[in-house]
Subunit: 246 residues, 2 copies
């Protein structure tokens, strides 16, 4: 079985800095100029006793599709968590999580994970069979953020949402036909899970039925189509902003 | 000189629906199945008296990098506007515009234009020599939104910002070291220009000096890096939200 890899200097630096270090080995092309970031990678690798090797550029050729900047790192796969991590230490702070329902685009998933980390969310919840899981492109687009948040994989989103509700979580779905403008809901003092759907299909009907609130982002134009990573950012930051303004 | 083209069924449909029709000719691969969207393209082309042609797939091969879905449209270039469009009819409503300072990634530019249109902004301002102008990828990522908003091209952003200020616009720059959280500024009842910078470099120092406000998006984590299309979305929607809640 081929080992997972990650690419992009920043992504590799983020992974090396993370306490939960997943990197097994780093390959650096002999042909690249050793800039500050490459030096940082080498220093962090030494510090963490991770082996690195200078290789002829041909050895990295098969990864060329990934704009690898002359550096590739082989990694242990992401350790997916179970939903139960959200129910631990609930008394410390209210838990905030985001559910990605059927989102297929690796760049969108990466950008959403990045936003969730910046906003201090606790977890991203992905369905095993609907949409995409974490891969090299998601990890790169997330700028390494996948290492800074719990990534929860579930078999069924319907079951997951049921369990979240049973455990004192409020469930908010985003939908163009929502009842409330997203900024008219009070998100404070609750554990919550925000469901975002795929760009065209939206959140699936079953999940919409389970939701406690369905919120919409108002459009000022008949042109009704925000990119899903942008709409996720708008909703995520409304939620955390309410906490800051509390 | 090779003519400009656009690709993506939705992008072509948006361009056909737009009153300011830029499409000269449409090529459709003989080998694709005629789905509902292809039918819509053909109907709209007939309605608007735009010529379309079924061609062997080889003819579209040179556009294959663009995931063309078997349909390509040749278009007249985007008509860039001058800054003066923002100073017309100022009394009708307050004008809202976004300045992209050195943003190079076509996907980010496209997503930002899409958000600006959804939010009812009046214009997107691009510098002629710093960053990227509108191309096929920007148009595709914008889902055709480039046709629904004034795209202003300027020689110098410094001069443009000076002129905006002389014409009663407030200038707001986004920067991680900003003084105010973005939601603590009152954006109502003003003509405004929001400056967003490139992901790593940020807004250039000269423009920061010109800005009336420098706002930041607070980070809940040392992991400090939102995607620029996401941070633009957060700021753009805070601005329009304040108008809605007025």
């Amino acid at each position: 079985m081929e080992q997972d890899f990650i690419f992009g200097k920043n992504t590799i630096i983020e992974a090396l800095k993370n306490s939960n270090n997943r990197i097994n080995k780093i390959l650096i092309s002999k042909n690249i100029n050793s800039d500050l970031k490459v030096k940082e990678i080498i220093e962090l690798a030494k510090l963490n006793k991770i082996s690195f090797q200078f290789v002829p550029k041909e050895k990295l050729q098969k990864y060329n599709d990934f704009n690898n900047q002359g550096v590739i790192a082989f990694v242990a796969p992401i350790k997916y968590k179970s939903l139960d991590v959200l129910f631990d230490n609930q008394k410390e702070h209210y838990k905030k999580s985001i559910i990605l329902d059927g989102i297929e685009d690796a760049h969108n998933i990466g950008a959403i994970i990045r936003t969730a980390v910046c906003a201090g969310f606790d977890a991203v919840i992905l369905p095993q069979h609907r949409g995409m899981l974490i891969n090299s492109t998601v990890e790169k687009t997330s700028a390494g953020a996948v290492n800074n948040i719990d990534i929860i994989k579930v078999n069924s989103l319907v079951d997951a949402v049921t369990k979240l509700k049973d455990n004192n979580f409020w469930v908010i779905a985003a939908d163009a036909q929502g009842n409330d403008n997203y900024f008219d809901v009070d998100y404070k003092d609750m554990n919550l899970a925000l469901i975002m759907g795929a760009e065209h299909a939206g959140v699936s009907k079953t999940l919409l039925k389970q939701a406690d609130f369905i919120v919409k982002i108002p459009m000022y134009n008949s042109f009704n189509s925000l990119n899903v990573s942008v709409s996720s950012g708008i909703l995520i930051y409304e939620i955390v902003k309410q906490y800051m303004q509390k």
